[in-house]
Amino acid sequence: MNWISEEAEKLAWYMEAENIDYKFPAVDDLCGSYFEDYDMGENILEEYEFSTMPELQKLLQKKRVIHSLDIDRVCAVAAFKNRPDIDVGKSEEHMLPTFIYNF
């Protein structure tokens, strides 16, 4: 995978992630509540299964709140890199830390 050519996607994901507000909000007397509605989702109990990298990627794409094909792929690589039976590709083995450090 050519990471440099996908800079645009990476940047978009980064900006989306940055938009999440982790900072203490100025105390807002007009705001009556910090509660959010809970989304029960379609299924309270979900089957959790994957045995290949593409299956894990598919699961990540379906369930993660922040969508990014790049991140899903490097997560799958990170999950499978110590599996003796799976070749994740030497050049991609350590991509996740690098990917995140370089944000």
Binding site: Y14, A17, E18, I20, Y22, K23, F24, P25, V27, C31, G32, S33, Y34, F35, E36, D37, Y38, M40, I44, L45, E46, E47, Y48, E49, L56, L59, L60, K63, R64, V65, I66, I71, C75, A78, A79, K81, N82, L96, P97, I100, Y101, F103
Partner: protein
Amino acid sequence: MYILGISALYHDSAAVLVKDGEIIAGAQEERFTRIKHDKSVPGYAIKYCLDFAQIKGSDIDAVVYYDDPIATLDRWLANASAIGEERKDLLNFSYKAMFQEKLWIAEKIKQILGGLGRRGKLLVVKHHMAHAASAFYPSPYEKAAVITVDGVGEWNTTTIGFGKGNEITILKKIDYPHSLGLLYSAFTYFCGFKVNYGDYKLMGLAPYGEPIYYDVIKSELIDIKEDGSFRLNLKYFDYQNGRSMTSSRFEALFGGVRRTPEQEITKREMDLAASVQKVVEEVIIKLSRTAKALSGGIENLVLAGGVALNCVANGVLSREGIFKNIWVQPAAGDAGGALGVALLAYYHKYNERRVERKDIQKGSYLGPGYTQKEIMNYLVTHSIPYVKYEYGMEFYHIIADLLKQQKIIGLFEGRMEFGPRALGNRSIIADPRSETMQSRLNLSIKYRESFRPFAPAVLRERCSEYFDFEGDSPYMLFCGYVKGKQDTDFDLAEYFEKQNDMTEVIKRKRSDFPAVTHIDYSARIQTVTEEGNPIFYRIIKQFEKETGCGMVINTSFNVRGEPIVCTPEDAYHCFMNTEMDVLVLGNFILYKEEQPERYKRRDVYELD
């Protein structure tokens, strides 16, 4: 239909087996591995559950896990991307756990179980739904408001919901990084106790202090709305970076660096403990009012999540009278999640009707038990001297008489408790009337800080004579106040202005039951009934007949840093490692002075 619930890889791994809606077995992994708060995939606990039911892994209909690994990864990534240059430390700290362990939970359980039951696939449930299920389904209520509060599970830290019949609906949530559990943990850490495992020590310290930091906590650290929702001021915390709980700003705010473990406790720590306790109580009360409003004014509340183990806050909530009835899951922390998901799968996935039983939690006596024959085999094999009795008047009289003689007794009966509290089956018991017993127990048995009080196990029918507490507290999850206060003129605040020595304060007699009376006259009450635990009840009843006192001290059967004993062997080693006088193993009584010297050994546990 068998359903296996599992909690693992965070804190307090556990397995629970449910058969046709009945909880038949449950245990924490730490009890078998002897590693306190063991978080590994609970192979021994799973084996115990299967052996108890005499089934194989392939007989299980569904295996259910108490956390959604993908949602957890989602939060982990978002956290990593949000913390800027600090993310390298976070990754180093948790990268392997996330990608090599948590994502592979199905594989790891499969390896232990030889499969994933008849379904062949792992079912996962969101963490707070697991807590909610652990609170609602075992409760005696057909309808109840449900509150869960902990550090964090996937994204959520607090939820409010509603249970009716076999359904639970979660309505509101607060997400990470805004967490009441993590706020409390930050103070636990700052006061020199272990995060996740020392929270109860901070709670025990609170009555020594004054809540002088309450205002500053509310103005600087947490913004609390009237409905109990809150936001934290993250610049004072460091947990997002995965390094420590508090930042240098926190130190600046509270007058210097944190106390290190084993360092002397000063008035600052006491006041901080009192202050954050007051804040937690305020949030819990406000959340409860909101839960009541959201559930249409119903009179029942159920609670779970680690914060629900704060029995002082539970006591305040009970006295507040917002709800007529409150039920708290005794394994309110992560272990209870295993129980919650097993019941949830039964009721929800298979759409079964809610089972109506009086005590679905079964007194939380869900762990391994040992027969008379098994105990005797152990004693005979190791040439351990004992005296055997039948369960009857003589047996109960001897134990009561030993208590009267100020002996400290290890009590090992029936099935081990599920959850953090010993409730009479793996307990150390003693006379609560003694003025020296608290110090004796702390220093020569538990090897722990002497400021922490012991709990009274009291005959249910006499509870209101001794305490201003009405109702049931079979799981030791509510605090009440001792009646007949003494030494009320003593000015605690003035005393600690001049010195930090807590031992002198502890020695002061504050009631007729000084060993179970905390400095503020509170007590962590366990009510005992004959129906709930016949042997324990009869021991206390006999003690009452012989002394007039209808309660005993009940503390967990372990030393500091050691998990509660599980087997007769664990109990014997703990007995021999401490100054305990007598060990009651089923209907066998062992006296310390008769035991062989060769069995005396000092196990060393990492201090908690």
